[in-house]
Symmetry: C2
């Protein structure tokens, strides 16, 4: 069922236009993947998200495992049925979140250079997996490659991700190498568990190796030898965008060209601009939806801070040529007012626009590559 | 433009079915009026509110005066234009809010029996009006009968309300009488200001007199002699529902039958049930929308507390015969999950259902009266 076709390759860069086919429909690539951690984008309902045309939604197994629990989702007939989403879903393994618990917040540690921080919720990390305490009811939960895949089978997303170990940014070469070896053993165990019952799901390997480009290349080579359907790029890619670009430039030649790839947790506008020419197919990020809730509206002329005083009397839409629900019905001045008045409606209307903006932006990227 | 017709009178009670015509369309009565304090119902956008069929929305002049300010709304072309609502709007005078500042919270004091509390925001109450300090920028604002009406002219609602003085519940007979006299002087000044420029708006008097039924009757008689388009019933009606019903039973014979009436700030399900037979035409309340945000879903079988554990696996809609967006698309189990996960989407979906429920409930009330 899962299929990836490359429709066009840029003559100017590594960019390509492709089409991923899944049991719940097509994902045109390159594309932006919005994050709906708990089975919803924040402040939007899933019918509206479908109507905006967001082709792939990212849900977090860790969060769904704790609330409502996979049994509930399974009883509902799977995640699509439970949340009423008709289009494709990708779930992660939970690894990222449990290692964030162990090593500090995702943003400060795994993705960049924050100070190391111990959090009490992880009880034990062993070869088997990670034992952690549920923040909801205090119960200990063991997440292993096998249990993560089983959870993702119960959720039933179109694309799933193997359980991986994420090293913190501040790690010596030996520990990085140990983590590197373990993550590949865990990914193999995850794949084996998946292959017992494919259940019409695709599985993307996660390429690791931290900021060591030799390890990154080795990771790509090892994982390429296995029957993964696609390749995600995980863990820290450095402290800055130039470091990220350097890393991806050295890595991409080792990532199998004929299979789709995904850049995990990165999808801000600058990163899209920098990474699409390197051949990245999909990007997930909570940036556009989070920015919306902070009153930052995306436009072709840059970000518009709707709470600034001068927006109080802008009686036109955010973008005059935008066809989103918000721009078709409401003005900047009204959005400004809703933000100033702390009205929940503000978050919904801003999120609708930013998500629509991303969908349209990716269409423009694809159109532009088709002309290269 | 403003017109009220009584289409049918119950033979069993004082209930009547009517139709109010305004510049922005019809309000069938009896009806429920949802509260959109800042120019939006909480967690819903106004296009959706229109589509649910809510015929009258209540906005608060006090709040709009402070944010965004009437000048902004006026520049936008009036409140309907600013918030993009096509259907009728009613605004209040701001009196209720400034006297809440002076005497303590609305819920604890004006509507019932809370302890008296002084709040520093009201600077001076005089025959002219009320001087208070804006909680937004600290600027002193003078609200008088004339300035309240002028603000409501700038907002441009279909129905406006005169500036009144609201006595606290704990007040001696002499002070109540003084407040009573002043409120009638202020209402007359408000009416005079309105009549200088009707601007296609209707104005409802506010009947006062606190819990003194003689004063209430006198208020109704005095205000009936003036060319008000309708009559709102304001202030405290007692400590309990039986007291409220007694008061309304003694008052309603004095309220002009041929003009529409409105019960201010009361619209919970029990009050609707008790007061519609007494001949009340419209009711405003934030109850259904606030209940929604607290996870209390309204059904024909009573309130459903969606966060209760047993709701986690209810894989059907809130009501199987409900045609609201939420019931057509999502299950109780999913709503339960969204509430447990503190997702904003929960508030929107629950509010959609409760508002739709109110619209349908009022249709049933009208249909039932037509058969009496």
């Amino acid at each position: 069922m899962f299929r990836f076709e490359i429709l066009h390759r840029s003559k100017k860069s590594g960019a390509r236009v492709g089409r991923i086919t899944t049991p719940h429909g097509v994902i045109d690539t390159p594309n932006f993947v919005a994050v709906g951690t708990n089975g919803t984008l924040k402040a939007l309902d899933n019918r509206m998200v479908d109507s905006i045309g967001l082709q792939l939604m990212f849900c977090n197994t860790y969060h769904l495992l704790l609330q409502p629990g996979v049994e509930v989702v399974q009883k509902a007939g799977g995640l699509h049925q439970f949340i009423n989403r008709k289009m494709p879903i990708i779930t992660d393994s939970g690894g990222f979140q449990v290692f964030s618990l162990a090593y500090g917040s995702v943003a400060s540690e795994l993705k960049s250079c924050g100070a190391k921080k111990q959090d009490g919720h992880v009880l034990k990390i062993s070869e088997d997996g990670v034992l952690f305490r549920s923040y909801r009811d205090g119960k200990p939960i063991l997440l292993t490659p096998e249990s993560s895949i089983q959870a993702q089978k119960a959720l039933g997303a179109d694309i799933i991700i193997p359980f991986d170990e994420l090293p913190p940014y501040h790690i010596g070469p030996e520990k990085l190498k140990n983590s590197f070896e373990r993550t590949h053993r865990w990914e193999k165990r995850s794949l084996d568990e998946h292959l017992k019952n494919r259940q019409n799901q695709a599985i993307y390997a996660v390429i690791h190796g931290g900021v060591d480009s030799t390890l990154r290349q080795e990771s790509a080579e090892r994982l390429s030898a296995l029957p993964f359907d696609g390749f995600a790029i995980g863990g820290s890619l450095g402290k800055s965008k130039p470091e990220m670009v350097n890393m991806l430039e050295s890595l991409m030649p080792y990532v199998p060209d004929e299979r789709p790839n995904h850049l995990l947790g990165i999808g801000d506008l600058e990163s899209l601009y920098l990474c699409i020419p390197l051949g990245i197919d999909t990007f997930d990020s909570s940036y556009p939806t989070r920015a919306a809730r902070h009153g930052l509206l995306l436009t072709k002329e840059g970000g518009l801070k709707v709470i600034r005083g001068e927006m109080a009397t802008r009686f036109g839409p955010i973008e005059s040529d935008c066809h989103c629900w918000t721009c078709q019905n409401f003005t900047i001045a009204y959005l400004h007012h809703l933000f100033k008045a702390n009205e929940l409606t503000a978050y919904t209307l801003a999120t609708v626009h930013n998500l629509h903006f991303m969908v349209e932006l990716m269409k423009r990227y694809r159109a532009s590559i088709l002309n290269e």
